[in-house]
Assembly symmetry: C2
Homo-oligomer: 386 residues x 2
């Protein structure tokens, strides 16, 4: 097991009706900005619940943070934060709204001229403007971590940021929101969380036995509840386990003491930036090729995953590892998630070369747990996804 530091100070309010309990977590004299996305919260009752919970505060609303939170839109919000002297933000939405608010948390206290530098130069945020979240779409885990991914259409870029100042002060997780989420988004959320776990787990054995079992616990739970959630999002027990699994998949716990991979995300982000493909689906596109290309390096963990999560009982390490990849693809297909780039766009020729070139330009010369996956390797992996 590798040495690690772990601290996660976010307070979770989990369960039915918890939105009503969040006012006690916000400073009484706060000047609050309430940020959300496209307005689905107005049809599912969340907007009203939030308004009621915030009734004692001075509140400014900011609507319209899009999926893949767009820098230009966030800069409008930043302007209002500064002119209206906002002291606390409340993000109500999925990972995009929460990530957007994390950028604002950092940018509001950033002393440089150009907030994009936080992303471009990977500036770590030690202190941010405090914020809470109300999660309406389980998937990214952003509600209990300190990372964010921001998109800039102008340059077709999608970059990440983070730092200990960007943990939400609190996050409200009411699984009742799941019942009004469209099936496509549920499938995306399950796929996203599942891949988050795999990015942290599917490397090589390093003796972090408990963390391995925790990771497998999340995968097993997602496999168990996925068909129930898809069939009936109003199944509270399934929704609650789906929601808590998504949060635990990326709140820092399971990655401590192990190397991480994250190359699937790096490649997947480019597919979203280039083609607008849903984030989760880009992961399902890249994953099988990535695991097959890096098979020798990952086969022990693939076999362990196959045995413990999928119940594969016999075979050589190689056999079990190959079966485990196939089981994963089958799982994505069971969620109606396509796993080939050509399923999403007819114009895929040249994608691999373009991504490889971008990584070279950014100096991303060694990805993955061994920091050895070169832009040349990336080109081959992406081609395997066509």
């Amino acid at each position: 097991m590798l040495n690690f530091e772990f601290k996660n100070p976010t307070k979770i309010l989990f369960g039915k009706g918890q939105i009503a309990n969040m006012a006690k977590e916000i400073p009484q004299d706060a000047k609050v900005m309430f940020l959300y996305g496209g307005g689905s919260i107005k049809s599912n009752g969340v907007y009203e619940q939030v308004k009621n919970a915030l009734s004692a505060f001075d509140v400014v609303e900011f609507a319209g943070i899009p999926a893949n939170p767009e820098y230009a839109v966030l800069m409008e919000a930043l302007n209002i934060i500064k002119t209206r002297n906002i002291t606390f933000m409340l993000a109500v939405g999925g990972g995009s709204v929460i990530d957007g608010v994390k950028f604002l948390s950092a940018a509001a206290l950033y002393e440089g001229d150009e907030p994009w530098d936080i992303l471009k130069n990977s500036i770590r945020t030690e202190h941010g403007l405090p914020f809470g979240t109300v999660l309406t779409l389980p998937a990214t885990g952003s509600e209990m971590n300190s990372g964010a991914v921001i998109t800039r259409k102008e340059t077709q870029e999608k970059l990440s940021m983070g730092g200990p100042g960007l943990f939400p002060v609190f996050s409200v997780l009411d699984p009742q929101v799941v019942k009004s989420i469209p099936k496509r988004q549920l499938a995306n959320g399950i796929t996203d969380a599942f891949t988050h776990v795999l990015e942290q787990y599917m490397t090589y054995p390093i003796g972090a036995l408990l963390q391995d079992r925790f990771a497998e616990s999340i995968l097993q739970t997602l496999v168990e509840v996925a068909p129930r959630v898809i069939k009936n999002p109003g199944d509270y027990e399934a929704a609650a386990n789906f929601m808590w699994s998504c949060t635990m998949a990326l709140n820092g716990l399971i990655q401590k003491g192990l190397p991480g991979d994250w190359a699937i995300h790096a490649m997947g982000h480019e597919l979203t930036a280039m083609y607008g493909i849903d984030h989760a689906r880009t992961l399902a596109i890249i994953l099988p090729g990535h695991y097959n290309y890096n098979f020798e390096a990952k086969k022990e963990k693939l076999a362990q995953y196959g045995q413990r999560v999928w119940g594969i009982q016999a075979g050589t390490t190689e056999d079990m590892a190959r079966q485990a990849i196939q089981k994963t693809v089958d799982f994505f297909h069971s969620l109606e998630i396509d796993t080939k780039l050509s399923d999403y766009t007819p114009d895929y020729e040249g994608t691999a070369e373009k991504i490889s070139q971008r990584f070279t330009e950014r100096g991303w010369l060694g990805l993955g747990e061994h920091k050895k996956l070169s832009p040349h390797d990336v080109e081959k992996v992406v081609k395997m996804s066509y």
Copy 2:
């Protein structure tokens, strides 16, 4: 799954050499009290490492906090804290030292006349004097939670306390300390952590699927590493997984969304108070009788535990549940932990009646996950442990 709130702000510094990194976690102008137990830290190198790490601070030492931290000793420390204007404490030791420091954290800021009232009247501590810990004995989980148990010889009492103000600011977990722990203490630590998980898990199915799997993960890891740790405490990988399992067993995570039992602890504490039996061993004494006495209420979870942790593959729910109890007893025996009160004292007659009477006097009229285990039931359970 039940509604829950979860927040655990303790920062963990885990791994080889982490004691040297703790100075950055203590306020620069702190007036530090460094508290420890019987002096084993002077023979295993931890004392020197701590002294070096604290070299930049004004430090007062307080040695001699005993196992089952004694109120009278702690009151001496409290006096020094007040007269020397201590602003930060560092607990270096196992659960007893850490629990003792938690009491001091609460008592230092307590405004009443008699600090024992914090325990007697279950006064919740919202704000305590800040403290960090260096764990030298994995077992209780106190290094990452906000609870403590304090003993008062004068009245043969052992009572618990807690509150959000009692989380350590940081805890240093260096698994290298394990190699110098006596075998008896290692066995106690494994048994203590194992039972902590069972107290939270072994109730009735409530649909907290992920929490169940996390609990099972800790149990599986402890079963896997226990023989390695006992055979060779210098096995770093085994020691690291043992240490992290003990912390995760009682840091709040696995209990969220479920009912807890904790009746085994309530009864076990009395055996320590009456006979001075090691805490962990009292749990092993009470557990089998408790599960057999409450078999109908717990059999579904017992069977699940038997299947997932012990690999029991066939049988009725009742069969698998009975086998699971036996497997647990066998596991304790494999650690050379005796499971009958008569193994520890010849004077056990009347113990059950005495504990039952104490619980009646304290108004503890309904223990366990259903709050239905009466003093009469307690008497029967304790008798089953003779």
